[in-house]
Amino acid sequence: MLWERLANTEPGTRQELMQALCAEAELQKTRWVRCLPFILKTDPADFVQRISRGRFRAESVPRGEFELLRIVRVPVEGSKLREKISGEFGLFNVASRIWCISSPSEAKVFRACAVGALQYAAPRTSFIYITTNEIRSMFDAWAGEGIHVKILRHSEYNRDESTINFLRRRKDYKLVFAEIGEKNSVLRSLAGLAQTGKATTILEFSLSNLAQVGFRKGSLSFLTDRLLLEVGRVGVGRDLLFSNRERIGNALRPLSLIFDGEVLGERAQNNEFVRALTSVEKSAVAVFHANPYIHLIFTDFRDGSSFHVYSTSRSAVTIVPSFRASVAALMNLYRGISEKFADCAVSDSPAHAFGIEDFIPSATR
């Protein structure tokens, strides 16, 4: 067990943790070390305390550069999940407020304990949503250094059909991403090889659009210093952009979403936009104005965050967070639009001061 294996490492290094995770994966025949970088808005002790209630029990031991975590998901009265599931995890800092929970556990345990605990701890925690474009840019940068990614299999969400497809074909990543773009799909997860020019595999890995990373074999330093760090950087960017967006009094702190093309304005397009948002889990939508410009309120029932969303042109949408607006809820909303509706880039939308010429073009003061 991971806990026992690292019981005497004081203080332990992250490298020791990764080696122990790999050894455990080998021993348990799970074959994969699973890592999930996420945004932690508090300290690890508070996080552990938060997940030591309700459906979860947790304990932790600091070990220098990492913490050892034991998480148990217990059955709760009235819940469909009656099975008790437990797992052991390592928790370490990747960058700024990005932490990574990792384990050699099988997928079921990782999903129930690690993913479940992160969902439960929201809004203190948030997943990191990575767009298809961001993943492609990361692989492009690797290719610039002579490291090519070959996709072994992937799953994609097709926006036209609202279906998830699993495809198992060995292909260069550029081909896969081009096909995804043509089909109006987005990448959900992939398994691939990162290889140098002579087809030497330096990493066999998996990656999902919620930043879950899998390590099968290869260079541990490439995993931690490149893949996890680069995913972590996306998380740092999102955290900086999505934090402290709550409305205070009449001061609004909007965000801008810019789409690649003219995807709004027609009735059918606007309906599609509303449909995409109504399909986001544990949320609600009220449309105030549907056509031609769109204005709606999106409320996240996980923590009560709410957002006004309105179109400012055929290719841009503004999100105005209300009095409660967590990073996790904004991430959820951004994911909903980007994944279910259309690719878009998110950025700060500073307040504009307008003049009379903006209302009457020929007017001069």
């Binding site: 439960y120 609004l252 009220a286 409320t299 009379i356 209302f359 009457i360 007017a363």
Partner: protein
């Protein structure tokens, strides 16, 4: 034949969108005032008292050089936005009538602003007197010619005057050039009064320039206040309260329920109308009255989404949950998939709930054979022998 429930539902949705459009127009002029009219103060909410102590609530007013206790300067205006015909006229006045009568009443109701008005609310803007103001009537472009002709015929003056000059402005939501915006134009015509406001007269009247206001200009104001000085229709208020206001009364730990189970699980929220009013005033500067909130809560009670708290005169218990997609599970077989998707949207959802309630009430008040004791299989008795429910 159209399903009566669908008809009622559409009626509620129409009220929702008509009110929303008025909120848009008011928000447009608030943004225009803030950015383009120097030295002007915008009055979005509040009461304006006449000399005979009658309180009026125009859709908005703009005071030039507003100083406490003083007269608003030249160029001030008091404005009403009218949907023609007013969809609420028959309900508000408690009267019915031909569409021509409703039309006349709607248009003529603007004349009540043509007198000295004192702003009397404690909502922020200075309490000033509107003495030398223009009265502005804004109507949708498709109705402006009829309104112009009606005013010409009925006011019997060279230029429109209702005690103060009356300015007729048309508005339209335009999508030309693929740039969406509200466009406001001074109605061309020799009988229309000109603005006394320098900027508006020069640009809109003399140069005949339209004022164009884009969503990026006006929606921030709409978001800040959500409602306008008119009473919101029931559906608008219910949707806003449910999706934005009630949920803010829940604390972090309350949300654990929905993390562990579906969000249609009910969390009870105990609230008084005063608490809701305070929140709306604090957060949205929206001065909704106790009566409006109480009516909304009573409707929720009828919809079985709330109840009065036992042993309390004033408190309500809201059965709060996410209604998206779940409110009509009992109709799952009758309602097709596209409809069920629609019912995830709260406007449609509350329209359906209200329509269902109204049909139920209608049914309950209509005399039925069963109520008169007729058993299945028996022929109906002669209706003349039935005891009527009134003398």
């Amino acid at each position: 034949m159209k399903d009566p429930r669908d008809e009622l539902e559409e009626r509620h949705l129409k009220r929702f969108s008509d009110y929303d459009q008025t909120v848009d127009v008011v928000s447009c002029w608030q943004s225009f005032t803030e950015f383009a009219l120097r030295g002007a103060t915008f009055y979005r909410f509040g009461r304006f008292r006449t000399d005979d102590e009658k309180d009026l609530t125009p859709d908005f007013a703009i005071a030039q050089d507003a100083h406490l206790g003083k007269k608003a300067g030249m160029g001030s205006l008091v404005c009403d936005v009218k949907k023609i015909p007013d969809p609420f006229a028959d309900e508000a006045e408690g009267s019915s009538g031909s569409s021509a009568e409703i039309f006349s009443k709607t248009v003529e109701s603007i004349s009540k602003y043509g007198r000295t008005l004192r702003y009397v609310s404690d909502l922020g803007p200075p309490k000033v007197q509107f003495v030398d103001h223009d009265v502005v009537l804004m109507v949708p472009s498709e109705a402006v010619d009829s309104v112009y002709n009606h005013l010409r015929h009925n006011l019997n003056k060279k230029t429109f005057d209702v005690g103060r000059p009356l300015v007729l402005v048309e508005y339209v939501y335009s999508q030309s050039d693929r740039l969406e915006r509200y466009v406001f134009r001074w109605k061309q015509g020799e009988s229309n009064s000109t603005f006394s406001n320098d900027v508006l007269r020069k640009q809109m009247v003399q140069k005949a320039q339209p004022v164009r206001i884009f969503p990026a200009h006006f929606i921030p104001y709409k978001i800040r206040h959500v409602v306008c000085n008119d009473d919101p229709p029931e559906i608008y208020l219910l949707v806003f309260l449910w999706i934005e206001v009630f949920i803010k009364f829940l604390k972090e730990d309350d949300f654990e329920v929905w993390k562990l189970s579906p969000t249609n699980r009910i969390i009870e929220i105990q609230l008084t109308p005063a608490e809701i009013i305070e929140k709306l005033r604090e957060d949205y500067s929206a001065p909704l009255t106790s009566e409006q909130i109480r009516m909304a809560l009573d409707t929720l009670c009828q919809l079985k989404k709330a109840r009065r708290r036992e042993g309390s005169k004033d408190a309500y218990v809201i059965n709060f949950s996410n209604l998206a997609g779940r409110a009509f599970e009992d109709e799952a077989d009758q309602v097709g998939l596209p409809k069920r998707t629609e019912f995830r949207e709260y406007g449609r959802l509350f329209a359906r709930l209200l329509a269902r309630k109204e049909l139920k009430e209608k049914k309950a008040s209509a005399p039925t054979w069963r109520k008169r004791g007729r058993k299945r299989g028996q022929p109906p008795r002669d209706t003349h022998t039935l005891r009527l429910p009134f003398p």
